[in-house]
């Protein structure tokens, strides 16, 4: 009768290790939603765009995604817009997409801003700031660079200039 018990023992111990490991793991790494970090997976989202279409992150699978969180009242966001526009025009043929996520402003404001600055990359409305919260945005602008593997390759806080942007995108396009 000793033989038959061994598998039960192993199953019980394995269960304890797996469940216990999971419990301890969530305690150490935080089971609750955490801010995305470099090397991590960007939280999924589904937002209405300026173009009236619904954009979700998974629509841009296998592409290099530059996620820029901005607002019209944020001076540095406004300043970096031309650089983002220029880089988007430069790289868009090579599977690079720039998504400008507006944090909580309404269409009148955003549309008039886009009209004035001539920005043409996709602009998305995060009207109730859910995505902004999910991404743990504190200062603006904050820009996430997501590689073709779907992982965050870097997070940039503050104004981006043309060269840094170019560098970052180049690294992701030609790894």
């Amino acid at each position: 009768m000793g033989k038959a018990r061994r598998p039960i023992q192993i199953v019980v111990l394995l269960l304890i290790v797996v469940l216990g490991g999971y419990a301890i793991g969530t305690a150490v790494f935080g089971g609750e939603a955490q801010k995305p970090v470099q090397g991590g997976t960007p939280p999924a989202f589904k937002l209405l765009g300026l173009d009236g279409e619904v954009h979700s992150l998974k629509d841009y699978k296998d592409q290099v995604v530059v996620l820029n969180f901005w607002a019209t009242w944020c001076v540095y966001c406004v300043k970096e817009m031309p650089a983002l526009q220029a880089q988007w025009e430069k790289w868009r043929d090579q599977g690079v997409v720039v998504l400008g996520i507006n944090t909580g402003e309404d269409p009148v404001t955003v549309e008039s801003f886009v009209r004035q600055t001539g920005v043409s990359f996709p602009i998305l409305y995060d009207s109730d700031n859910t995505v902004t919260r999910d991404y743990g945005i504190v200062p603006m602008p904050t820009t996430f660079f997501v590689g073709r593997n779907g992982k965050i390759s870097s997070i940039h806080q503050g104004e981006l200039n043309l060269d840094t942007l170019d560098d970052q995108i180049r690294q992701l396009v030609n790894p």
Binding site: V12, A27, G31, L48, V54, D106, V108, Y125
Partner: protein, 556 residues
């Protein structure tokens, strides 16, 4: 070491067996003859007791030890004590623990924080201790309950003489009757006392309330469910404890759920002077009497995940939330937490007025958030071109917004109509009177249109201004693990009742050459047991004093 575990009755016992599984004869010679028998687990070997244990057996044996379990519980209790020295991080929202403990408690606080004791109950070692207690519960139970179950379900009726005389309740005496006859006669009185009776020739086994033996194991099952629920409440969707603002009169989505909550009306009441004692009035304190949020909970039934559609809401609950009286709906609870009485402009209804004649062309509603694009007022058409929530002019003299907060809202319209140029004129409108003056609305508009304004927007009275009077800060909690916690505790209670209010009682007897030997065993309430045996013996015509039945194990 190879032990001879074969009993003289011929039964082959397993290593670690204390009392022969068949006849009950004590197997361990070191047990001094005459002492009371060790009846735990009916003398059977626990599962973990085996020869040549390997690594798996060793782990198993570690957790199967009750001694280890007791130490684990003591260590956990001591660990839990550390979490009660200073307040825990989880008690606060929006604070910085890295400076809080140092500022409040000095160096000790700093050490406390550095050691991670500011989140004792979420630290890895505390969870590890809980997991180990869980492992110990499972393994201890398995290790004991299965052999015990087997031992109790295949009890032999005829027991070894020594087994009987070394019980705690013993009777021996001549009855001068035929054994089988006596045994047959004994069945009825025992059944009357609710025993299940089994006989075999000159031997008898009577037993009742065996189920109470499972009490401790039922308790363990309950504790395991409890522990699992506690450890896994962090799973996605099972737990939420967040704080959100709900402005009055707006159905606001609770992030991460399909629920929307509307703060229909928030009230705060203070104690009046009449309600305060004289002493208290001197302190000059203002004490709130009531915080109440009249809340409506909606569930989104369609268009919830599609940002291009407006969500369709269905009312599911309505409750005046007060402190400690939350709105509850299917595991979601909304508690009153804080409030803000700063009024915020929601909408205005300005009228378009002719500056010369004073003629009004009618009012329209202008929302601060998501305003309409086009408005008509009499013969005039207004198109909203831009909106600034916190109006200002930058160094280049261009209008900008300083923040997303509606501190100084301004709306830029294009007005077309009679007496105006065909392409229309631009018109900047400040709903707040104070901004109108601060930014000199009229001067700006003169510049924008290049002429004196022919029409102007004007709010004519307070009834045309809509404020969000206040905002309520609610604590939204979801704890779907709670039913499992209650279930676990319920099972624990059931186990406690099983084990506490009933006792497993057994009586063995055998008659050898007209001599009756009786042994009785129970887990507790020996007094009741002896009394029951004495009354049974009396019914059989055998006189035995209750006290004389007690075997204190003192005999040589």
């Amino acid at each position: 070491m190879i032990e001879n575990t074969k009993c003289e009755c011929g039964h082959q016992n397993r290593v670690g067996t204390v009392l022969c599984e068949a006849c009950g004869k004590p197997l361990l010679e070191e047990e001094t003859t005459g002492d009371l028998l060790e009846m735990r687990y009916d003398g059977v070997a626990r599962r973990s007791q085996r020869v040549n244990p390997n690594i798996i057996d060793r782990i198993w044996n570690f957790f199967s030890s009750v001694k280890v379990a007791v130490y684990l519980i003591i260590i956990t209790l001591i660990g839990a004590m550390f979490g009660t020295i200073f307040e825990q991080e989880s008690n606060f929202i929006r604070f910085d623990p890295s400076t809080f403990y140092k500022d409040k408690y000095g160096t000790i606080g700093e050490i406390y924080y550095r050691l991670g004791l500011s989140h004792t109950y979420e630290s890895w070692w505390f969870i590890l201790l809980l997991v180990m207690i869980g492992a110990s519960l499972v393994i201890c139970s398995l290790d004991r309950v299965l052999p015990l179950y087997k031992a109790l379900s295949k009890q032999k009726i005829l027991k070894h003489m020594e087994f009987l005389t070394r019980q705690k309740v013993v009777y021996q005496g001549d009855i001068g009757l035929d054994g089988e006859h006596f045994v047959q006669q004994a069945v009825e009185p025992l059944r009357k006392r609710h025993y299940r009776v089994h006989t075999e020739g000159n031997a008898l086994l009577a037993e009742k309330q065996r189920f109470s033996r499972w009490g401790p194991y039922v308790i363990h099952i309950g504790l395991i469910i409890f522990l699992l629920a506690v450890l896994f409440r962090g799973l996605p969707g099972l737990h939420m404890d967040e704080h959100y603002w709900f402005p009055e009169g707006e159905a606001t989505r609770i992030p991460g759920t399909d629920y929307y909550l509307e703060n229909e009306r928030f009230t705060v009441e203070y104690y009046t002077e009449d309600e305060m004692s004289e002493d208290f009035k001197q302190t000059g304190k203002i004490v709130p009497k009531l915080y109440e949020t009249k809340a409506i909970l909606y569930k989104c039934v369609a268009g919830c995940q599609d940002p291009s559609k407006d969500p369709q809401l269905e009312e599911v609950a309505r409750h005046p939330i007060q402190v400690n009286d939350p709105l509850v709906f299917e595991g979601l609870k909304a508690y009153q937490f804080d409030f803000d009485l700063t009024p915020k402009l929601r909408a205005v209804q300005p009228a378009l007025v002719n500056t010369k004649t004073g003629e009004s062309y009618g009012k329209f509603k202008l929302d601060m958030q998501n305003p309409q694009r086009e408005y008509e007022a009499g013969p005039y058409k207004l198109t909203l071109h831009n909106k600034y929530m916190d109006f200002s002019l930058n160094e280049q003299g261009q209008p900008v917004s300083l923040s997303g907060q509606p501190n100084a809202p301004a709306f830029l319209f294009l007005i077309q109509g009679p007496e105006l140029p065909a392409e229309g004129v631009q018109y900047l409108y400040f709903p707040k009177q104070i901004d109108k003056e601060r930014f000199q609305q009229d001067a700006i508009n003169r510049q924008l249109s290049g002429q004196e304004a022919i029409v102007t927007l004007d709010v004519q009275g307070m009834e045309d201004v809509d404020f969000i009077a206040s905002s309520s800060y609610l604590n939204i909690r979801i704890d779907r693990a709670m039913p499992f916690v209650w279930l676990g505790l319920g099972i624990v209670m059931l186990g406690l009742i099983l084990g506490f209010y009933w006792q497993h009682r057994r009586i063995w007897l055998r008659v050898d050459d007209g001599k009756l030997t009786l042994g009785g065993h129970t887990a507790k309430n020996w007094f009741g047991m002896r009394r029951e045996v004495a009354s049974f013996l009396a019914a059989m015509g055998v006189e035995a004093d209750e006290k004389s039945l007690e075997n204190r194990g003192k005999r040589p």
